[in-house]
Amino acid sequence: MTKKKDGKRNDNGWEPRIVAFLCNWCSYAGADLAGVSRIQYPPNVSVIRVPCSGRINPLFVLKALQSGADGVLVSGCHPGDCHYISGNLYARRKFALLKSLLEYVGIEPERVQFSWVSAAEGVRFAEILEKVIDAVREVGPASKMVKELEEVT
């Protein structure tokens, strides 16, 4: 788990890669709305749609970090708005622990972030995403949890 040797990632042209887990009913729709409203948001995000923020297993986040994501954004419906009544409220407890634990072990807190975005909040989605990307750009390429495989010659 050394720093990326790949030159591209360290020179000025490096752009963070973000994985966003978005709940189907609110945040994914919010991201969609941002798109159809032609609100500009950075392209360096891979969106993974999940049925509910309650579906997010902390292992999803760990796996994303292992697989080389520089940042992870998890987003669901605002409390009270969950399509399944309380999925996001159970999830919130898991997220609080995960966030705290990752910071505790020494992983930059900027890398894993959580938010609430409703289906009507296209602007909010774009703003949050931009904020996350800026923060990740600030801390640089991920290295700590990244799994390196041998270079293939």
């Binding site: 697989s67 080389g68 799994k147 495989l149 041998e150 293939v152 010659t153």
Partner: protein, 340 residues
């Protein structure tokens, strides 16, 4: 064979010489006991402990290694990079384990290139034991505190000196390379070495090991396994700490079509070890799994290789989180065999 003596004050010099053009692996003090570790600083070598927490099998059979890398459907690299290594301060039980592992990895003429390459490139400098460790029983399973099997050089601790005996041509060459700091061993020193061994042997508590294989076969359905299966937690400590356990897994790791095929330690104690793709599992209970480990070592290996795959290091006893004691199990099996 060549026998030389070294003033213990010159131990670090010896270690430096041996490791001059090789990787040096030796026991060093760690948080919880001693461990075999690659070192560059000879002052770290710690020869006080009898048994390291884990065995040195890692040097010839690592916890995991890449068999080959691949890209798409193409195998790209298969040659492991293996350095010349000297493994210093191995106890005779662990050295003997190498000799047993050799048999598996060359069994029926099918050679395991990864193991053999590591083995070929590893010189083993063993050190006879003057004081047995807490659960040692090497002499009950065909070994000795001064056993020579599997080693290139065997050392004896004479207090202020080390007597070093070459056991192989390679070992002799190794000792010759250190001739500037050693002197030929005197008859008194040789005698002192022999005496130390005799003393150590006396201090080992004998364990009755079941030798009647037919009777041991008869224990397959015995109640004892049920009792032990209840206690066994099904972790891999005993197998991973064991110098002769060699079962492994092969798995692929990949990202975007590029990856590697790795082999890694595995153990019959894990419930998924024998799980078929169909869902069928021939060993569904921990009784059966614990039995498999014991019988593989003490029945199947003797049938296949003429010897039990246990060198009596006692690591499975001291490390077992459930407090299972292989020595007691063997005693019971032996007395059951006698009774039939």
């Amino acid at each position: 064979m060549l026998e030389v003596t070294l003033d213990k004050a010159k131990l670090q010099e010896l270690v430096k010489l041996l490791g001059a053009d090789r990787r040096l692996v030796a026991p060093v003090a760690d948080k919880q006991g001693t461990v075999f570790s690659e070192i560059t600083d000879p002052s770290l070598v710690c020869l006080d402990a009898v048994n390291t927490t884990l065995s040195p099998k890692e040097v010839v059979f690592p916890q995991w290694e890449t068999l080959y890398t691949f890209e798409g459907d193409r195998v790209t690299k298969t040659e492991p990079q293996i350095e010349e290594t000297v493994l210093f301060g191995v106890r005779p039980c662990d050295a003997r384990a190498f000799e047993l592992l050799d048999r598996v990895f060359t069994w029926d003429g099918v050679n395991d290139p990864y193991y053999l390459k590591r083995r070929e490139k590893t010189l083993v400098v063993a050190l006879a034991c003057n004081v047995p460790g807490e659960a040692c029983f090497c002499s009950s399973v065909g070994g000795s505190p001064a056993g020579e099997s599997g080693a290139d050089v065997l050392g004896f601790d004479l207090g202020d000196r080390l007597l070093l005996r070459a056991l192989t041509k390679r070992g002799e060459a190794l000792l010759k390379s250190a001739s500037s700091i050693t002197t030929p061993a005197t008859p008194e020193e040789k005698e002192a070495a022999q005496k130390a061994v005799t003393e150590a042997e006396k201090r080992l508590k004998p364990v009755a090991v079941p030798e009647d294989l037919e009777a041991l076969k008869g224990s397959f359905d015995a109640e004892i396994w049920k009792e032990l299966g209840l206690k066994c937690l099904g972790c891999g400590v005993c197998a991973y700490a064991c110098p002769t356990c060699h079962c492994f897994d092969i798995t692929d790791e990949t990202r975007k079509g590029v990856g590697r095929r790795v082999r890694s330690w595995d153990t019959c104690a894990f419930s998924l070890f024998t799980l078929h793709g169909s869902g069928h599992n021939p060993r569904t209970t921990q009784d059966a799994r614990y039995r498999q480990r014991v019988l593989h070592k003490f029945l199947y290996c003797p049938e296949n290789f003429g010897e039990a795959f246990c060198v009596g290091c006692g690591r499975c006893v001291t490390n077992c989180p459930a407090g299972l004691d292989l020595r007691a199990v063997l005693e019971r099996l032996a007395s059951m065999a006698k009774a039939t």
